[in-house]
């Protein structure tokens, strides 16, 4: 069951939560809505679920227009950030709730609850109450409860946001496995890019009520469409400079930029990820920058080196793999040269340029 959203707009008073948003989640896919808080991702999810109405636009499940259907008719499974388990009901009754309100026979309810308890690996905890469970267990109950009504799609709002790092990691992998088993079209909201990239087939990056970029995790990570996406997807070094004649001039750094072959000089911003910077003891023509090493943290899978360019007042983060770090034998205070392996240049709101 695919989900299609067309031109959704939603206002809360003067605040525009969603501004003409369109997207598609193919049948059986696992899609992440990624964005900072206030970007409209949760509102979008709630409109897809029918918990919130849109001012304008359409929501389709497969080819069925569900824009004006109640959550009940839409048959969605929704998992809330803070679980929202029924505190006065046992785990069993929590999971059974959706079937109880649909007046399913007890035998069917019983069989389904058992099946789901097994699926979320909580056998034997049916008689416990939510307050007697750990955070991770509660979230799995919430998921089982959402799945109990045989939903056509599954929607999760920051499902792991309230859990500690280790449990979050486990549940992420488990959610991915579960998805591969049951192939339910799933949309989940997160502000954690790592989570989105690890779990999802497709990532939709949102900002201020519109979609900034969507694509596979690989596409989005390797080819961020905008400075915002670049910045949001993790640690990044920013250089301000100009572009002209196929070159980007970023302070002392000159790098080739064939996308802009024109003679007229224009302002540009360049982004380089820490792992895309290398350190040398000697300058490499005009494509390296002299800096001083201010801090080294070799603990972890990469050595995190912090350098500072006095000339441009610019602090940069460099991630070296441990092999390279061992080979360089740098220490704090050393004068070295950084050179980017890969640079992404963005020109602010470039009007169409006529050659």
């Amino acid at each position: 069951m695919s989900i299609v959203v067309k031109n959704l707009t939603k206002h809360f008073g003067n605040f525009t939560a969603l501004n003409d948003v369109s997207l598609e989640a193919p049948s059986g896919s696992l899609l992440a809505l990624l964005g900072p808080s206030g970007s409209g991702k949760t509102t979008l999810l709630r409109i897809i679920a029918g918990l919130e109405g849109a001012d304008r636009g359409l929501v389709l499940y497969q080819d069925e227009d569900v824009t004006h259907q109640s959550p009940k008719d839409r048959q969605v499974g929704f998992v809330f950030q803070h679980y929202a388990l029924f505190r006065h009901m046992s785990v069993y009754e929590n999971i059974a709730f959706g079937m109880r309100v649909r007046r399913k026979p007890q035998a069917e309810v019983d069989a389904r609850v058992r099946e789901l308890l097994h699926l979320v690996r909580l056998e034997g905890l049916g008689q416990r109450y939510p307050s007697q469970l750990s955070g991770g267990q509660r979230q799995r109950v919430a998921l089982a409860r959402a799945l109990a009504v045989q939903p056509r799609i599954l929607l999760l709002d920051e499902p792991f946001g309230a859990l500690d790092a280790k449990v979050r990691q486990e549940l992420r992998q488990w959610l991915r496995q579960l998805h591969d088993e049951i192939h339910l079209t799933t949309v989940f909201v997160t502000h954690d890019q790592e989570e989105a990239f690890e779990v999802a087939d497709r990532v939709v990056v949102m900002r201020a009520g519109h979609i900034e970029q969507s694509g596979t995790p690989q596409e989005v990570f390797d080819h961020p469409a905008t400075p915002f996406v670049m910045d949001f997807l993790g640690n990044v070094n920013v250089f301000h400079g100009r572009v002209e004649n196929g070159m980007a001039m970023l302070g002392a750094l000159n790098v080739a930029y064939p996308e802009y072959p024109h003679a007229e000089s224009r302002q540009a911003t360049a982004y380089v990820r820490p792992h895309e910077l290398d350190i040398e003891h000697t300058p490499i023509g005009t494509s390296s920058l002299e800096v001083r090493v201010t801090q080294i943290n070799p603990a972890g899978s990469v050595a995190k080196v912090r350098v500072f360019s006095e000339e441009f007042g610019l602090a940069l983060n460099v991630d070296l793999n441990l092999e390279r770090y061992a080979q360089l034998r740098i220490k704090t205070g050393d004068r070295v040269f950084v050179a980017p392996r890969n640079v992404r240049v963005f020109m602010p709101e470039a009007p169409d340029y006529v050659i």
Partner: protein, 311 residues
């Protein structure tokens, strides 16, 4: 009786969430380090005042009522048809008023905690108005509306509808003076619990009624019962407002508190104290239920205040 009611009122209105942590033991110890004479004189003063102002009067009510033995007591309570009617009337007016307040209280608390609308703060304030207005004034206000000379008086008389000096007026004013109890009890509880579970119920396919009865009511039941108990206590003891609108007609519009006063005025002390002792017993029962429920509501608030935090 009024003194006790005031205390109930003050206590029964948690204006905000309870602090998450209870008073720790170290605080208690600091107080115990005060010199012994200070401790004992403070405890002694408190005990003496409680004894003088509460224990002695309450005991004396029962003593006076039973002075001539249980047989006479029973006769005083049941022998007089006007007294019997006053008991019947109180047991009729109070449940109706309480029921009306449950409906109003739940609706008001729901509106205030679940919706954002213009005038929300004003509504919250207006709910408390009956606490601020003297019951006598409340009674007068209703007479002004429904009495013979009142705004609706002529119309009501034309259509042979009797409100003032009759049962409807008693129920109306009793409902008015007890209006805030249930709502004020529920607002903090519902605020603390939030609407997450209700939205979850909707997302699982429940309709409004199913959500209300299966999710909301179980979550607020102790707070609701507590409100009902307070409301009930106040309704039973209400004197001023009822006095004004009832016309004080023995055997027709006299409720128990009015009957106590009338018997006393007629120098029928044994009869007066018999009815008073019945009212007091009801108050004591209420107080006991209140204590039990108070613990339950505190628990409800506490659980809501620690919303299923991750462990």
């Amino acid at each position: 009786m009024p003194t006790e009611i005031e205390q109930v009122t003050m206590h029964g209105v948690p204006s905000h969430l309870p602090p998450v942590v209870s008073v720790s033991k170290t605080h208690g110890r600091a107080a115990q380090q005060d010199p012994a004479w200070l401790r004992y004189s403070l405890i002694g003063t408190a005990m003496a005042i409680i004894g003088l102002l509460i224990i002695v009067p309450v005991v004396s009510v029962f003593y006076q009522a039973f002075a001539a033995g249980p047989g006479v007591y029973w006769k005083n309570l049941t022998g007089d048809s006007d007294t019997r009617h006053s008991i019947y009337l109180t047991f009729l007016v109070v449940p109706v008023s309480v029921a009306a307040n449950v409906v109003f209280g739940v609706a008001a608390a729901w509106a205030i905690t679940r919706f954002r609308f213009p005038g929300r703060t004003l509504l919250t304030t207006l709910i408390d108005l009956p606490f601020a207005i003297s019951p006598v004034v409340a009674g007068l206000m209703f007479l002004l509306l429904f009495g013979m000379q009142g705004y609706f008086g002529p119309w009501l008389r034309e259509h042979h509808i009797k409100i003032a000096f009759a049962l409807p007026a008693l129920i109306l004013v009793t409902t008015f003076v007890t209006l805030p109890f249930v709502a004020r009890e529920l607002i903090p509880v519902m605020e603390a619990i939030g609407s997450d579970e209700e939205i979850a119920a909707i997302s699982l396919g429940a309709n409004g009624w199913q959500m209300f009865w299966r999710v909301t009511v179980p979550n607020i039941k102790w707070g609701l019962l507590y409100g009902v108990i307070l409301c009930n206590a106040r309704a039973m003891g209400e004197f001023g407002a009822v006095y004004v609108v009832s016309g004080h007609i023995a055997g027709q519009t006299d409720t128990m508190p009015l009957r106590v006063e009338k018997l006393f005025q007629e120098y029928n002390n044994p009869g007066s104290f018999a009815v008073a002792s019945l009212l007091t017993s009801l108050a004591l029962v209420t107080l006991f239920i209140k204590i039990v429920l108070e613990r339950k509501t505190q628990q409800e608030l506490k659980e809501a205040a620690e919303p299923q935090a991750s462990t």
